[in-house]
Every structure is written in structure tokens, then in C-alpha cells.
Amino acid sequence: MKTCLVVDDSSIVRKVARRIVEALGFQVIEAEDGVEALVHCKKAMPEAILLDWNMPVMDGFQFLSTLRRMPGGEEPMVVFCTTETGIDHITKAMGGGANEYIMKPFDKDIVMAKFQEVGLIPLGEETAA
């Protein structure tokens, strides 16, 4: 089973994200900030990381930059999931090595679409109207 690390300082968001990501067939690990997330990544690189931007201790962008320089740190698919919806933030995130970007609020359809986009999950049965 693939693992997804959910990084967000809000326990509610983590809970919602966990439910969605588990339904997509992932095992979920949670982290409250970038530093905690790095600890998990050093132990074992997850296949996917759902990443908030604004967090105490270490924010999502700093985490991403550190991750991408770690051995094996280029492997996880990193999907930002943040209230920062400005084009400047999006551009910065993608330049910093993110694979996709979700603007909060999010729902299952959006997470699924983005995970499909980066190849974490196969395309589902094609949808009929």
C-alpha cells in the first residue's frame, strides 16, 4: 500500500484529508509542521505528500526545499494544499519542486483529480454524465 504524508497544522484539516486520502487507497501518516514531516521522511520516504503552506516551526515551502535536497527526496509526489491561492505562491511552489497544487477549500474530487494528474492513482472508470 502506498503511503501519504499529510502535513497541516490544523487537526481538522488533517482529519478531513486523511479520510479522503485513505478512501483513495493510501496509508496515511500525519505531521503538524515541516520539521515533524522531515522526521517522517528521514525514516521512510512516502509516495505522496499533501502539504499545507502556512505552519508554525517550519512552513510548507521550507519543508519542500529541504526535502528535495535530501537523499531520495526527489521521489515523493508533493501536492500543496493551501489557502494561498495567489498566482505568485503557485508559481513559487512549482518552481520549488511541487508536483501539483490544491487551493483550499478542497474536496474528494479535487484531491482525486490532482493525484491522478501526477500519476499517484490510475485514471478511474471514465465518467458518464
Partner: protein, 292 residues
């Protein structure tokens, strides 16, 4: 909603839009028409039916629009757009190398996500299309839907379903909570109102026709009729793209599926089709749309 009201609405929709609802679509009617009834100051589907029976032209149009409008998203189902980029366009670029023009029809263009997705695909391959004349015609039954398509303004939710973030950054402009398609992309598309039940020969012929997730609503006879008329609007070496739940197989031989490319069809030699005049006739006679 009682069975009589449901039957009335089924027949009403069939006559007015060709929409062919199966016997178990009560939830669909309720979810689409209750909000509309309330907006019109009516308290139930029953009251709405009474109004329709009383002959309210404005209401007829809104009921048809509410029932035929589909939620859609960018690059819906993904595969057809991969086919478009990797198979259809390379073939057309070769075949039209001297003419250097391509005409594409989105026959159920809806709120614009499909034609804009195609426009983005074409932009991404613009180096192979330098000096080409590109025409994308997007048609839909509903005027309201066409207005939205023309404006090209989408909510944050809409732009996150199916649209890769790089494409969003590249082809949209953010205005507060909404995102608008770039003028350059919007200029590639002509939007026109069209009922597929009516004659569409005036649109001319196309290299590619996308007609996805609309024919599923029609009955067999109507489907066959539309396929036969679509066959006359597609170039002999052109393509028809259908939705995942749709096929021509068992209905008509004016198109044939392309093996290994789900949803992709080529027209057969039309002389073969003309041997079946009963199928290749004029548009079906349906009650004209009120107010159109």
C-alpha cells in the same frame, strides 16, 4: 412527485429536447427542477407541472435548460484529449500539410471546458501549427450555458477538477476568487446555439467532431439519425469522438471504431450509408423548442 407528474415530465422533455429519461430518474428531476420551481415561486414539482400544462413559455425554456445542463470539467476523462494530442492531430497535421487548416466542432460544448481544453492542447503544440488556420466551433442547446462558455470565467472549484496547475497558470488570469481564460484562447472559439435535433448542415464540414456525453440522453432512433447527419459533417479522413458510455456499434455503420482507441471513430464510406435512406434522412420531427 407522483407517477403521473413524472410521466408528464418525461414526455415533455422528450418532445422539447429529445432528452430520453429512463423510468427511474425521479431524483434527477427533483434535484434539477425543485430549485427552479422554488425560484419561480412554486412549492413543488406538482405545481411546476401544472404551470407547464397551462403553457408557460418562459418556464418551458428554463425546465429544458435545467435538465440538459451537465456538470463538466476540464480534460474530462483525459483519454480523449490524449488521443487528440497523440493520434488525431498528428494525423491531421500530416494530411492537411498543404491546406494548413483544421476545423473542430464541440457538439456539446456546454460551459466551455471541453472546447477550452482542446484550445489548450492546440496551443501546446503551436510550433507544429505555425501559420495554420484553426477553427473551433462550440455549440450547445442552452443560451445560458453558452454565455458562461463565452465569458470563460470559472470558480476555484471548477479550475481544480481536471486542469493541471501548469495549465491554469499558463492559460488563465486570476480575478479575486475566479479564473478567466486568456483572451488569446477565447478568441480561438466560436460559440453558437444549436439543437442537435435540428439541421446542422450549415456548420460545414469538420476534421474532428467531439460529441461526448450528450447522445446518451437520446433514444436509439434519434441517436441513429444524429450519427447519420454527423457523418455528413465530418471529412472522409476526419474523426468523431464519443463519450465513454457511448458507441455507434449496433446502431449504424456510418462510423467505425478505431481499434485500441476507445471513444474514437472514423467515418465509413458514405456511399455505403446512402444504401439505407431510411436512416440517413432529415432531422427527426420534434416539437419546436418554445421561445427558440
Amino acid at each position: 412527485m407522483n407517477p403521473t407528474e413524472y410521466e408528464y415530465l418525461r414526455k415533455f422533455l422528450k418532445d422539447n429536447s429529445g432528452l430520453d429519461l429512463s423510468a427511474d430518474k425521479q431524483y434527477l428531476i427533483e434535484s434539477r427542477l425543485l430549485p427552479l420551481a422554488r425560484k419561480a415561486g412554486l412549492s413543488s414539482i406538482g405545481e411546476l407541472v401544472q404551470k407547464l400544462q397551462g403553457g408557460s413559455g418562459a418556464l418551458v425554456t428554463s425546465v429544458v435548460e435545467a435538465m440538459t445542463t451537465n456538470e463538466t470539467f476540464f480534460f474530462r476523462d483525459k483519454v480523449p484529449f490524449d488521443h487528440f494530442r497523440d493520434h488525431i492531430m498528428p494525423e491531421i497535421i500530416k494530411a492537411r500539410a498543404s491546406k494548413r487548416s483544421v476545423r473542430i466542432w464541440c457538439a456539446a460544448g456546454s460551459t466551455g471546458q471541453e472546447p477550452y481544453s482542446l484550445a489548450m492542447c492546440l496551443k501546446d503544440m503551436s510550433s507544429a501549427l505555425t501559420g495554420w488556420r484553426i477553427e473551433i466551433i462550440a455549440t450547445d442547446l442552452s443560451q445560458e450555458v453558452l454565455e458562461k462558455a463565452k465569458a470563460g470565467v470559472y470558480s476555484q472549484f471548477e479550475v481544480q477538477r481536471g486542469l493541471p496547475i501548469q495549465m491554469l497558470v499558463k492559460y488563465f488570469k486570476q480575478t479575486g476568487e475566479t479564473w478567466q481564460v486568456n483572451p488569446e484562447l477565447r478568441a480561438m472559439i466560436q460559440h453558437r446555439q444549436l439543437n442537435l435535433l435540428h439541421d446542422f448542415s450549415q456548420l460545414g464540414t469538420f476534421d474532428v467532431i467531439f460529441c461526448r456525453n450528450v447522445l446518451i440522453y437520446f433514444d436509439q432512433e434519434t441517436k441513429v439519425n444524429i450519427f447519420n447527419r454527423l457523418a455528413r459533417q465530418v471529412e472522409p479522413d476526419g474523426f468523431l469522438v464519443l463519450g465513454a458510455a457511448e458507441t455507434v456499434v449496433g446502431l449504424t455503420d456510418v462510423f467505425r471504431p478505431i481499434p485500441e482507441r476507445r471513444g474514437l471513430y472514423k467515418p465509413n464510406d458514405l456511399r455505403a450509408a446512402s444504401a439505407k435512406p431510411a436512416l440517413a434522412g432529415a432531422p427527426p420531427r420534434m416539437a419546436a423548442m418554445a421561445g427558440r
